[in-house]
């Protein structure tokens, strides 16, 4: 078969298809490359920091090279001490030695002092034997542990930050062991983040299901009105809603004052409702509720009321009809809402930061802490990658169940 211009139809169709594909890709390309460079590249770049260990081999190149052949018994040979002295001296002049000090101090408290103290005295050590001179400058150089630590950090890449992120560490000979109990913090925080997100998701179902059902079964002119009550908070700034909850919940706030006025509580025994776990749970449930109601509503609207009537006329009572006939049909909406709320909840930062106090903060808050306060950026990156992995897995499930194309907004 041939097309009008004489080319075989197969070729002609293939050409048209190719042109179609190119046109489609051409339309997508600007955004695709924009997202790639403004978003994907930064995140990949950040993720690489979580395994980055270039500081030690970068600033102490001779030492790390010399340590490669050391068997880890006793003290390394004189040549290694000489290499270290040369490296520290060069690092002091380039003013990069402090980076090594900071890096080692993450592993063993006090190593900063060892390195900086040695660096201050290094200029006075002009010739060998370097072994005695360095041990004289700081007795830590006489300890096998110190050298084992340096040897362990000789690789430009490390999984140490991921271990730290789950409350583990390498011991001096490179075995994976648990952190001492008083330094265990991240696993608990991950568990708390998951647990609180789960609780908040549960609460949004509990509150969202009845009102979505009510709106789906009322005549449209009433349900449209009620929908505004859902959409208005949805469109209102997150900070406005968080502010509102602080105002409502603080000890001189609206809820406490109301309870005192009713006589439910004594004026001097106002319960603490904000700057703790309760505050985070209440405020986040409120903020995420619309994300549960909207998918539920859109699914419930498609369920014909005749199903329930049929079930009842076949002899089921109200409860049985609801549980056996209605609820199974809403499960798609429940699943979509749950995953959406859960994904949003585990990454929340602003609301827990403002209303969470010490007991109501989540993993995001600790990432921000390591970014802004402690400056342990690699640990922040490791925690971030773990969080990102969790979210990506959940998104994958969401996409399988609901399909991102079917996501409803407003």
């Amino acid at each position: 078969m041939r097309a009008a211009d004489g080319t075989p139809l197969k070729v002609s169709i293939a050409r048209a298809m190719r042109r179609n594909r190119l046109l489609a890709l051409g339309l997508i390309a600007p955004l695709f490359f924009f997202i790639l460079f403004s978003f994907i590249v930064p995140i990949v770049d950040m993720s690489l920091r979580s395994i980055d260990n270039s500081v030690v081999p970068g600033v102490l190149p001779n030492t790390t090279a010399a340590l490669r052949d050391w068997d880890g018994e006793g003290l390394p040979p004189e040549a290694t001490f000489a290499a270290l002295a040369a490296d520290i001296n060069a690092g002091r002049e380039s003013r990069e030695i402090g980076k090594v000090a900071t890096r080692l101090n993450y592993e063993v408290s006090g190593m900063r002092g060892t390195i900086m103290g040695t660096a201050r005295k290094i200029a006075r050590i002009e010739e060998g034997p370097y072994k005695e001179a360095l041990i004289e400058a700081n007795k830590d150089w006489g300890e096998t542990e110190t050298w084992l630590l340096l040897k362990r950090l000789s690789d430009p890449y490390t999984f140490g930050y991921y271990l730290n992120a789950v409350d583990m560490r390498f011991d001096s000979v490179g075995n994976v062991v648990a952190q001492p109990e008083f330094r265990q913090i991240y696993v608990n925080l991950f568990i708390r983040t998951l647990w609180m997100s789960l609780l908040i998701t549960g609460l949004t179902i509990l509150l969202g299901y009845p009102i979505a059902h009510l709106m789906a079964t009322l005549p449209l002119r009433y349900s449209n009105l009620l929908m505004i009550l859902v959409l208005l908070p949805f469109w209102t700034s997150l900070l406005v809603r968080t502010t509102a909850w602080i105002v409502m919940l603080q000890s001189e706030g609206v809820i406490n004052s109301l309870m005192v006025w009713i006589g439910l509580i004594a004026n001097d025994a106002r319960p603490q409702l904000v700057h703790n776990k309760i505050g985070t749970i209440i405020a986040m449930t409120h903020i995420l509720l619309p994300f549960m109601v909207l998918p539920l509503y859109s699914v419930m609207k498609t369920i014909p009321p005749s199903y329930m009537r049929a079930a009842r006329s076949l002899g089921a009572n109200q409860l049985t009809a609801f549980v056996r006939v209605y609820m199974p049909q809403t499960m798609a909406g429940v699943g979509a809402g749950c995953i959406l709320v859960f994904i949003l909840a585990i990454g929340y930062y602003i609301t827990p930061e403002l209303v969470g106090g010490t007991s109501g903060t989540l993993i995001s808050n600790l990432i921000a802490y390591h970014m802004q306060q402690s400056l342990n950026w690699s640990l922040a990156a490791a925690l971030g990658v773990i969080l990102l992995g969790t979210v990506a897995a959940l998104y994958f499930i969401y996409n399988r169940i609901v399909g991102i194309d079917n996501m409803k907004l407003g």
Partner: protein, 283 residues
Amino acid sequence: MALPSYAGPVERIWYYSYRVACGAIFVFLIAPILVVIPLSFNSVPFFTFTPEMLSFDPAGYSLRWYRDFLNNPQWIHSLQNSFIIAIASTILSTTLGTLAALGLSRPYTPYKSVIMGILISPMIVPLIISATGMFFFYTSIGLAQTHLGIILAHTALGTPFVVITVTATLVGFDQSLIRAAQNLGAAPTTVFFRVIMPLILPGVISGGLFAFITSFDEVVVVLFLADFDQRTIPLQMFSGLREQISPTILAVATLLVLISVLLLTTLELLRRRSERLRGLSPQ
């Protein structure tokens, strides 16, 4: 779902308690917003209703926190920044997002789900991670602490909403309309502006509104990328709230509620128009 006349007493009780529970949930949804608005007119710096307010004594109300807001150059500067950044990033993300959605909705687009996944990612990745990544990368190319940097960052965060809403509009789009227009001799630009655009406009506008509110409301990325010059309203509120909650913040919050009401109304009108166009008018 009116109560049928044959309902027994148990069903009656159940019916009414269900209604009451739903009422309580709606109160929970709306109360915080409703409480903030009157308190922003409080004449004294307290965060609860004073006896004067409850008895509707005019002396209990005042506009002093709004005056505070208007007379504070920091707040005004933040307001300007918020609008500049939100409008610029809305224009960018609407343009890029609409084009991409058109591409994604054509038949035979290869690797559709992978591309979609990447384009949607800014909406899925927790903000703290996006902000951290952008902080390092934008600092390294000199875009941190500039308006342009924040505009680009917000554009990235806003595009998924445009892509999703415009793609949704295009689901019902009849591709043969394009072929018909082309057959009748229309140039590609004419086809776009005279045939495609009018049909997808509601989707584009509501996507644009989402992009606008995303930028206007965003604080985590701004927290990492902005210094004093790029302060936006949400950042100003955030740092204010971390220190102490002041009544001026309530006044700002009320103004922001007003903006959301405006956006919501626009969106609702658009939805009705598009339903009318598609012959799906309510009732």
